[in-house]
């Protein structure tokens, strides 16, 4: 499936004084479910709007199946968009909304009727033809928007936080539906979201964006397990970050010192010397009883707080190193054995610990925050201008 291949090359968008998208390079093969993930104002929506044709890039290229479409008007691009608030035409009913694109393409009436019928079946809305958009629930509107975009057989479907306006349960159901729909139609889905769980659940690959840059690109598992920057580690899920001093670094394993305790971590390809940060996911932190045999990568601590979240219990532990760590313990119904004030021993398995250079990781994320605010303003500006 070569159709629907996107390549962004040094793509840049500047609004009056802000650089919303700062020279990003990205390659998305045809048929992939790709997500752009990042906080609001990171440039992900601007990137999507440039691919759709609503914004013109300041510089750079947008290659769609090998052709540069950066300056092609939106109505001549073989991409379709599902908008954040669906943008269903309020003066048209469901049928006319879905048929809108085919009518613009001057398809014969019989064909339009047949294809609209099929599209309605695809999104399970057969029988709703005569309804107005306002007579549909949020989930139904979202499906109409999908049908309206997919009926034109685009090479790429762009989705701008399409589930943002729905409640949590419906969102979960539609995530699975969207993914299976994408596999059914086999075209490229470019999905923009700020919800890390959404991106992790659905994507084949994803890019984490921050301040107009791409921080990391990879499969959900790689990005989650192997964050390359502090921003990615922090943005994707909850991370425990600790200050550390690198004792020895290598591609196989590293050794770091955290306030007198020496820990072994995973190897790294990055250049880490001196001050660094180590990262561990809460679900990888293991809690052992106080007095258990001490061993490598173990730090004593004290349970500071227990937070019951249903499927799991968050245990906040004050480690002897002075850091506060969060551990996530699955709720198996057998009770935890700890309570507030219980001394425990933390086990931080070497393969769950990652060293990240604090200098490189810190700087872009700090700079990113400023840029982020500015870009957010720019995005608001464009929103206000609409």
């Amino acid at each position: 499936m070569a159709r629907g291949e996107i390549e962004l090359s040094k793509l840049t968008k500047q609004f009056a004084e802000v650089t919303a998208v700062d020279g990003i390079n990205l390659q998305i093969p045809g048929g992939e479910f790709f997500s752009l993930l990042g906080p609001s104002g990171c440039g992900k929506t601007t990137t999507l709007r440039m691919i759709a044709g609503f914004e013109q890039p300041t510089s750079g290229q947008i290659l769609l199946d090998g052709t540069d479409v950066a300056y092609t008007p939106p109505h001549r691009r073989n991409v379709n968009t599902v908008f954040q608030n669906y943008a269903l035409f309020p003066h048209l009913n469901v049928y006319d909304n879905i048929a809108f694109g085919l009518r613009r393409a001057k398809r014969p009436k019989g064909e339009i009727r047949e294809r609209v019928g099929k599209a309605l079946e695809l999104v399970q809305l057969a029988g709703y033809e005569k309804r107005k958009a306002s007579q549909l629930s949020g989930g139904q509107q979202q499906r109409v928007a999908l049908a309206r975009a997919l009926i034109l057989n685009p090479a790429v479907l762009l989705l701008d936080e399409p589930l943002g306006a729905l409640d949590a349960k419906l969102r979960k159901a539609l995530q699975i539906e969207l993914k299976s729909l994408q596999q059914e139609v086999g075209i490229t889905f470019l999905y923009v979201t700020h919800d890390q769980e959404e991106a992790l659940t659905m994507s084949d690959r994803l890019a984490v964006m921050n301040g107009g840059h791409i921080e990391q690109v990879g499969a959900p598992q790689d990005v989650y397990e192997d964050p390359e920057t502090l921003f990615v580690a922090d943005f994707l899920g909850v991370s425990n970050l600790m200050e550390a001093r690198v004792v020895s670094a290598g591609t196989e394993a590293c050794r770091v010192a955290v306030d007198g305790y020496e820990l072994e971590t995973r190897g790294t390809n990055q250049d880490v010397i001196g001050a660094a940060k180590i990262v561990i996911r809460p679900e990888r932190v293991e809690l052992e009883e106080h007095g258990a045999p001490p061993g490598p990568n173990r730090v004593p601590g004290m349970v500071e707080r227990l937070v019951y979240v249903g499927s799991a219990v968050q245990v906040i532990v004050r480690a002897a190193t002075g850091e506060t760590l969060q551990a996530l313990v699955q709720n198996k119904g057998t009770g935890l054995g700890f309570e507030q004030g219980t001394p425990v021993q933390l086990h931080l398995p070497p393969d769950a610990l990652r060293v990240l250079p604090s200098g490189i990781g810190d700087e872009p994320s700090l700079k990113g925050e400023e840029g982020q605010d500015a870009a957010e303003e720019a995005e608001e500006e464009t929103a206000a201008a609409t």
Binding site: N80, T81, H91, A105
Partner: protein, 310 residues
Amino acid sequence: MTAVAEPRATPRSSAFVRIRGWLRNPWGKPRFLVLITWAYILWSIVPVLIAVQFSFNATRSRTVWDSFSTRWYWGDPVDSVWHDPTLRHALVQSFKLAGADVLIAVPLGVLLALGLARWHGRGSGVSNFIMLFPLVTPEIVMGVSLLLVFTQLFTFIHTGTFAQILGHVTFSISFVVVIVRARLFSIGRQYEEAAADLGASPFVALTRVLLPLLTPAIVASAAVVFAISADDFVISQWLSKGGPTDTVPIQIYAATRAAPLPSVNAIATIMMVSTLLIVTAGFLTWRLFTRGERRTGTAAEDFGGAFNIS
């Protein structure tokens, strides 16, 4: 909410309790607001109702009520609106001006609003501001200057119907622009973008999506333009060449300075009722077209909101 104001098991009469509750918490319900609102409505509507009442008077008096008759509408063979050529011509002239004004100012105003709302380059801010000038310029200033323009500069335009139409269009375009632009902003860009995304060229997006969505604002502005044109005195007067180009307001003004008959009330009533009907029709169309949209306020608030912006 007002639990204090309603003590349980009180031996005193309920009226007393209620008054005491009012005094303790006069702002519990917006009673004074309601009272003042109704007082204002009465104050503003009573003179109009009296004027309407005397248009149906059987005698020549505009102050002493005799009995009901339609004499001043068509019954009287000389002085009724129907038979007096001056009044009849004034009525025709007023409707002619208002109709022409709607037909010219509304399309022009819609195009101007589209242009101004989409133009973000240098000078767009100034132009947007200048569009509001006719709304704040005293009419008398505009009337005099238009007369000067027509008598000194563009001398091929003579006073009379054509000049009057030009004058009305000049000041009513602003109303159209303000109303349509407000609607354009509330519609936003998303529907145009969706249309473009689905393969519609800018022109098709305009005719198939934007204009249908603008219809309520267009109808509302047409109603407003009709009403202000029919109501206009100053500009119509300055640009009139007398005789058949005098409008209803001019005739009413002239008549009240001489010996006014109830026929003046009758022609005023006709103007008021027809304007009211047109504005109501505009409102109903607005509501019909915006029915499909989810909105927080009622249709009436929205319609009124379009006017308030001016």
